[in-house]
Amino acid sequence: MTQDWQLKGKTAVVTGCENVIGKAISKALAGEGVSVIAVANDQGVLDAAVKETGAEKGICVDYTDAGSAASVAKQAGGADILVNATAGLKTAVNTPIDIADAAWKSEMTTEFEFPRALTHALLPGMTKNAWGRVVTIVGGSEPYDLGVEYAASGALQAWSKGLCRPIGRQGVTINCVQPGLIKGTKAASEYVHIVTERTEDPMIPSGEPGEPEDVAYSVVYLCSPLAHYITGIVLPVDGGLGRQQH
């Protein structure tokens, strides 16, 4: 029995394709017949990602450049689906409290301002077509320490929730997916203690980090027309890692 997720022929822009999560999402969408434009900040990495994922083409961009979002939107020429997956690209444990403003702003731009601006740039085309999907990958809601990613995550979630209202009647949904520790990400390599400590009562209830595909499947589901009544939510895909109960 083959499930039809009704995505054939749609177009998608997927950012963060220098990361395993962005790549897994590109591949999963392409597997459903979506024409994917992959976005990454390094030409060599991007070329490899396009080849590996079956994306239609790639756009290389420095996320921190002024006008980078507008440039991507223009080169893409519109999209039915936007997946923002720049979260966690620069995750660093124990950010110093005297972190330089420029460093903080650079990461905040990559993880919040760029996805926000790109979404706003692509939305008019979606609302005009009366169909669209925005899915944003966000970091944790339970900060282990000081990190720009947590601030960006809070901002993304509140922005996404607010934005679901003005676009909800035009057939466009916007949701967040919140991965836990995923194999091959920078976070998984930096938070190794979460994986290895307390083996009798592991921090990750499922017992091990997730696969990038676990995240990608949920993104595909939220992009499907079957999920049209889901908007403004944050979906954790974390093997039970997060502690919050609502």
């Binding site: 459903e32 889901i230 908007t231 093997g239 039970g240 109960q245």
Partner: protein, 257 residues
């Protein structure tokens, strides 16, 4: 290669299957090839649903009558389910109600204990009993999906449904941590405004129009909107989602995270 649900041959017990979200969930699961055991008080409605599912090409569901407010009803239903299905891969706890039909919607502070106890039992106690009764066999078979249909956690006023549905969220989160290593997941879906027998009984047309103004997508949902997510969560594709509360509400609730 496309994303396959891999649910053919799996089994599911769906409570509250005679109407609304339970009915929609049973239909979506059966459409994915799941053998469903339909449970509710009104077995005539379950028989009709079984006919409908079979006519649409799904595996013919089994039917079992159960009044979950009867003494030890959850334990009897567990025994019936294991006997009829052989084993249970998926449990959809959909039986429940937003209010006691004999009580006011907005409860006075001096309302009798009996009303609270009954609503706590039907919306939380029975879900806990039935789930825990089936968990050992799910752990044993290394596959289990428990999906609770709950309610929003933003109380508008003093509703009997809010505390038990919040209790389910907290209990499910705790349970999820204990059993995740055995490929048994527990998740909750708080629905928004979904057109159902209960909603049509409790809302006038004017009230539905007024409420729709507060829904981001502009209107009420249908049972299948929940059923599709129930089916996805039942699949091996969703193995890394557990302890989650996933609203399907068209953007109705307000809190961001």
């Amino acid at each position: 290669m496309g994303m396959e649900l891999q649910l053919e041959g799996r089994t599911a017990l769906v409570t509250g299957a005679s109407q609304g979200i339970g009915r929609g969930s049973a239909k979506c699961l059966a459409a994915a090839g799941v053998k469903v055991l339909l449970s509710a008080r009104r077995t005539n409605l379950l028989d009709e649903l079984a006919d409908e599912i079979e006519a649409e090409g799904g595996p013919r569901p089994e039917v079992v009558g159960a009044d979950l407010l009867a003494p030890r009803a959850a334990y009897k239903l567990k025994d019936d389910a294991l006997k009829i299905l052989g084993h249970v891969d998926i449990l959809v706890n959909s039986a429940g109600r937003s209010k006691n039909p004999d009580a006011p919607g907005n409860m006075p502070f001096d309302a009798p204990d009996e009303i609270w106890d009954t609503e706590m039992l039907i919306n939380y106690g029975v879900i806990r009993q039935l789930s825990l009764a089936l968990v050992p066999s799910m752990v044993e078979q290394k596959y289990g999906r428990i999906i609770n249909i709950t309610g929003k956690t933003e109380p508008r006023d003093m509703r009997t449904a809010n505390p038990p549905k919040a209790a389910v969220h907290g209990w499910a989160k705790g349970l999820s941590r204990q059993i995740a290593r055995h490929n048994v997941t527990v998740n909750s879906i708080p629905p928004g405004k979904i057109v159902s027998e209960q909603i049509l009984r409790n809302y006038t047309k004017e009230e539905m129009d007024h409420t729709s103004k507060w829904i981001a997508t502009g209107g009420f949902g249908v049972a299948e909107d929940i059923g599709h997510l129930v089916t996805f969560l039942s699949s091996p594709l969703a193995r890394y989602i557990t302890g989650a509360v996933i609203p399907v509400d068209g953007g109705f609730r307000r809190y961001a995270y």
